[in-house]
Symmetry: C2
């Protein structure tokens, strides 16, 4: 995938650290995988959502009679029919005051964005449902929408917008620092609204199993247990009476697996109609109504001394949340200011995030939420400081980077309701290695040479700190089967990241079993009582460590029994390829399968041991860990068209320990495609009336193979996390994080117009317009 | 159900000991229950078995071309197509030498009974499959069948029958006892071939989930985990890759849930065709090919002293196993002689069971296997001793009954691979209570009076010892949900006996929760790693105690946390209706649901406690326990037709502790219907060529409401089992056990022809014929 991958796998084990092939792939590449669209039940119904075509308006009436009369239509519901179903709940319990702004499953009294569900048609055929949905007429009295989150908001409904909360964070005496500053550098920067567009759109199939009194929901992803518990609250059921099934998932990236109106509608329909009900999102619906993200405007100031040392940062952020608070609450805004400072020492900090509701599609997390935005802002600021003081931006970075001796470093801030304590890192060491890896000076020379020849070629760089391994807990059950294979059950989720493989590798290493004999089960809330899903780059860290602990216990149990059966000293035994035998030399041996057979309840040699060659492993973790990296971009700008071509790209990333370097590389390069999309192409654009203009893939321009540059990846393991014995940190968001920052820096450089880029994405239209304006202004 | 139920519920608790209504019933009585016939998957295929119409023959050829040509037919397979699938495995590991006599899924080379599967037709429609099956032509060279298990057997194939094993048991010097005897009493007795005919026939649906690589089998019953492990061996899969689902079950009684040829055929088909395959047995198939039972001939002798004291018993048994050793191996024959001695002291004992294969449907267990037969034989022997010595049979019983002071009493025999140790009992006390309960003397007087008036009315009695609570182990997971409801998971099975209710009652009592808030999950091998199913009257004893233990741990955890949160002394707290509070007086309280919320992983008050208000409970048990009872029958015989009318019936049963007296009563009365069937009506009759004559419900005559007498039930709790803290013994087989014995005794009495009945069932035809013969012989 990457052009060049380098990795210091100096601590590679038998399985950990090896780029083994993915266990997930055989069903996926042979078409055997079962996505929610593939799940069907007899007597199944199909739902089609009728969506608002107005950004804001009062619902005068909804006429569904014609739709109801269509043969095959079983039900047409509006808000009145679902009055008992509460609004979509949210997390972010630390931020108060958001409850009144949550979304009902079907619009009540007002519509607040184009695409908002106003009715649902349920029919015995998907096409009938779709046709009938066209016949539902919503009489809506249009109101002026509130679309600019930096403008003064009024009341939400029936007014023009609102600000449910301002989140404030900070420490130190910011005012004093600014008063004493050698210089103050100020910027207004913004990131455009974009989001994940996975290959497989969302989809759900809800079914009430009347024989068991159990509600089943297929198509769950990301956080099945959390969603189960929420649905239990919403529908006044016991969590034990709701089962969520994950199925194969064609891309998550934060957008999939949250509770949406459709989840509530489908569950309500299954419970009410007592027939399975299916809904598969089409592409337009996804671009219209799935969580969007990233739209923020930042007014940021830095107080600096003469050497470019940051004395304080003062940040004011306007977060465009769209029409409703959905499941993440205000987390993206909160995380943006909580993690804004990246790798730098900042003695005083004050941040306010204005969390504002507008008449657009509701927003939530998208891969590296708050960090893509924050890194862009911070790194722009660093470069502005250099520009202001006439110091090279790299030098500004160097004087401000935290040292490895500072670690662990308490920020005095919180994010995701945990204290930010940078666990380990050698940021300047990373910078040195990165510059060396990319051949920084040669790149500069080449760019200068080509610029001299008339080309607009530039090189840019962005440094970032990621966060990963969010707690609080994870639990894994490991059991060796009587045939020697291993069953691993977790409440984590698979959204394409390769978690089955990685968890199997960790188990394989710990247990001494071929990783291909390990089956990692997930995505079934019935199999394990707790689970925290796949988000916040947590699975390898949390599930990995819980799995390792379970395997350690299993290993102990195996060695203990083997020592007895083989009549050998336990300390002289080891497990290789699933067989316990003497670590050195010849001797008798016994397979793990045989040991499992000797641990069944009826076994005569089991003694007082609890039956089963199995164990449960828990890992509780109060703090996240913090991998970090650098993006380097070389771009060429076409001054006429405004088109930015990314000629080459490099990501240097210290992950603590790479369980599977090939998968880390895949995460980075895949993430980069999304990062470049946000930097250069992708944006949900709305017109003045709040009509979305990006509801097809022709308008919402995603990065394809054509746009992807050659990528070099350097995976480092210089700063293993002290928070888990394997030193693992997460990999999910490294490819996205600094893409906006690095591209902006490179575009500035290419055009030799420092500070030119103040907004992402840098689309050809916007850049061309800006060039015309700025050139005219010169 | 019963006319009169009496019970000494002197130890009834809040839930244990109460006749609460069944949790299982709402889905069953409202039609929401999901039997295997109700389970369907898209693209499902249907299998139809082509069965042998010859009792014995060599397969010359099978022509399936015409069937294969039928549109909709997907496959037609014979043995050659399933050559890789091994024969049906069996348990009874202690008895060697049976392996060569197991059954292949489709007949190989020879057919050995009418109804044996010789081919399978798989089509996309059940009716197409059935029609196409008619077109399969098996060219079979008929051979003379071996049909009388008391006749000398030869070689099995291609010969005339065989005796794979003779099982011997015994202790003491039998020969010496016979030499020294005051008298020797000898009988030849036999029980007819009959079996369970549940309302719902068998059925299976096998599906290979290609996305997970998992074989699913719906319609599992009785022993899902054991069957899973066996299927894993058969198909060389990991047990973790096979999932069995129980669904609702319309009657088990031993016959359902064993591995049959159809299980192997369906699994093979799903694995091969990669489409779901369903098979639902029709009634004829059930009567033709499901396990039959009970056909035994006993030659038994007793050596006695002048007072009727048994000095020794010498027993020789011929067990008609039918054509193959199926899943039970030789267990019925083994159990018959292992448990033959019932409640009596027998100083010396010698028994041989000739386990013989004939050309009939294979045999296995049916409710009270070996005990219905053995009790009939033993009680007939007791009465013969009385007759021989001129002593009243009740007196013979009294001089031979073991005393409660003998308990626990080691028999020196084994059954079901456990040593027979009678755990507790007061047999003579039971006899006294029974005679009092039924008004024995009044019954005798009435019978005598009516006989004097010309009617053939008699009263009979049979004493029995049951066995229950078979180990080795059971495990239960109990978890309190955040809404205060309780999820209980077990690997035991529900076959209609009410186990969900009974286990919920035990949990409710232990936890202090309304039993209706407890959901008992079973019948899903994926939910719990081990499970031993529902057989041998084990569930209430084994699962009940494992559940109680798990609940004790949960209760401890709840009280511990509640004491901390309420700041109260733990010893002063109790749990009532799901709320922990002061045992006496007013005070703060906290619900179990609230405690569960305080024990989630993220809880801030959980401390070092493992997350979850949950626990696993194991119960290991090396010995069975032994409930006991008496059947009393009053009958009236029609001398002309031979018809026996049962006028009144009583069952007196000491169960140790009745968790739910209403369910115990249901078990007893329901079992009695089957016992009376075996005593008077039901028989699988074969003609001289081995053709079965009882393949419709018109020919195989089951007891209906018309035949059922009024039943009085006395449930006693005089001898709680010392093997578990609640003192529970099992209830499943008490209603069947002594039915043959009591009816035989009553018929003898009615006709005043002691020892007349030597064979069951006492059908009108057989009794009339016997009366004609014996009267002619007089």
């Amino acid at each position: 995938m990457a052009e060049r991958v380098a990795q210091a796998s100096r601590r590679a084990g038998r399985y950990i650290g090896r780029p083994v092939t993915r266990l997930e792939d055989p069903p996926l590449v042979t078409g055997r995988a079962r996505f929610v669209g593939d799940v069907n039940f007899p007597r199944q119904l199909h739902a089609r959502i009728v969506r608002s075509s107005h950004a804001k308006g009062r619902i005068v009436s909804i006429d569904a009679d014609e739709a109801r009369a269509v043969p095959g239509v079983v039900a047409v519901w509006t808000a009145a029919d679902m009055a008992d179903v509460p609004n979509i709940p949210f997390r972010a319990t630390a931020i108060k005051g958001l409850t009144p702004y949550t979304q009902p499953p079907l619009a009540r009294d007002y519509v607040r964005f184009v695409g908002e569900p106003v009715a649902v048609v349920i029919a015995d055929d998907a096409y009938v449902a779709e046709d009938a949905a066209e016949l539902v007429f919503a009489d809506i009295e249009e109101l002026d929408p509130y679309l600019d989150a930096t403008a003064d908001p009024g009341e939400f409904a029936p007014g023009l917008g609102c600000e449910p909360v301002v989140i404030e964070k900070g420490y130190g005496d910011t005012d004093a620092a600014f008063d004493a500053a050698h210089a103050v550098v100020e910027l207004e920067l913004s990131t455009g609204r974009h989001s994940a567009v996975p290959m497989e759109p969302r989809g759900l199939l809800a079914r009430f199993d009347e024989s068991r009194g159990v509600l089943e929901l297929y198509g769950a992803a990301k956080r099945p247990h959390w969603n189960r518990d929420q649905l239990a609250e919403l529908f006044s059921m016991s969590p034990a009476d709701i089962e969520l099934f994950e199925n194969s998932v064609g891309g998550g990236f934060g957008v999939r697996g949250e509770l949406y109106p459709e989840d509530l509608i489908l569950c309500h329909a299954a419970l009410t109609l007592r027939r399975p009900v299916k809904w598969i999102e089409d592409r337009r619906e996804h671009l219209l109504s799935a969580n969007q993200s990233r739209e923020q405007t930042h007014r940021i100031r830095a107080a600096v001394d003469a050497e470019g040392r940051i004395l304080a940062i003062d940040e004011c952020l306007f977060h465009d949340q769209g029409a409703y608070v959905r499941t993440h609450g205000a987390r993206v805004a909160d995380m943006t200011i909580g993690l804004l400072l990246g790798p730098y020492r900042v003695p005083a900090y004050r941040a306010r995030a204005h969390y504002r509701l507008t008449n657009k599609t509701p927003a939530a997390t998208y891969r590296a939420p708050g960090r893509f935005e924050g890194t862009f802002v911070r790194e722009r600021l660093i470069e502005a400081i250099g520009r202001n003081l006439g110091i090279d931006a790299l030098q500004v970075r160097r004087v401000n980077l935290l040292a490895s001796s500072d670690m662990p470093y308490e920020r005095g801030l919180s994010a995701l309701e945990t204290e930010v304590v940078l666990d380990s890192g050698d940021y300047e060491g990373l910078l040195d290695k990165a510059l060396d890896f990319v051949g920084w000076n040669d790149l500069q020379d080449e760019a200068e040479r080509r610029r001299a020849a008339g080309e607009a070629v530039g090189v840019g760089l962005g440094m970032f700190v990621e966060k990963s391994g969010l707690g609080p807990s994870e639990v894994v059950d490991v059991s060796v089967q009587t045939d020697g294979s291993v069953r691993v059950v977790t409440g984590a989720a698979s959204v394409g990241q390769g978690m089955e493989t990685v968890i199997a590798q960790i188990c394989a290493e710990t247990l001494g079993v071929d990783y291909r004999r390990i089956r990692v089960l997930h995505g079934d809330t019935n199999l394990i009582p707790f689970g925290f899903g796949a988000h916040a780059s947590r699975v390898t860290v949390m599930t990995g460590e819980a799995a390792r602990r379970a395997c350690e216990t299993v290993r102990d149990k195996a060695l203990d029994l083997a020592a007895e059966l083989l009549q050998m000293d336990r300390d002289k035994l080891s497990i290789e390829e699933g067989t316990v035998g003497a670590s050195e030399g010849e001797g008798p041996s016994i397979s793990l399968g045989e040991l499992a057979r000797n641990l069944t309840p009826a076994s005569t040699v089991r003694g007082d041991r609890e039956p089963g060659l199995s164990a449960t492993g828990w890992f509780h973790n109060k703090h996240m860990n913090y991998p970090y990296g650098i993006h380097v971009a070389k771009v060429r700008v076409d001054r006429e068209t405004g088109h930015v071509e990314v000629e080459r790209y490099a990501v240097i990333y210290d992950i603590g320990r790479a369980v599977n370097p090939a998968l880390v590389e895949g995460q980075i390069v895949g993430g980069l495609a999304q990062g470049l999309g946000g930097a250069l192409y992708e944006e949900f654009v709305y017109d003045d009336t709040g009509q979305p203009l990006s509801v097809t893939l022709a308008d919402y321009q995603m990065v394809t193979a054509t746009e992807m540059p050659p990528v070099d990846v350097l995976i480092l393991e210089d700063a293993p996390s002290p928070l888990n014995p394997l030193g693992i940190k997460g990999a999910g968001e490294a490819g996205v994080n600094a893409a906006g920052a690095a591209i902006a820096s490179a575009v500035d450089d290419a055009l030799q117009m420092p500070g030119l880029v103040r907004r992402l994405p840098i689309t050809p239209q916007s850049l061309r317009k800006q060039l015309l304006t700025e050139n005219a202004g010169e």
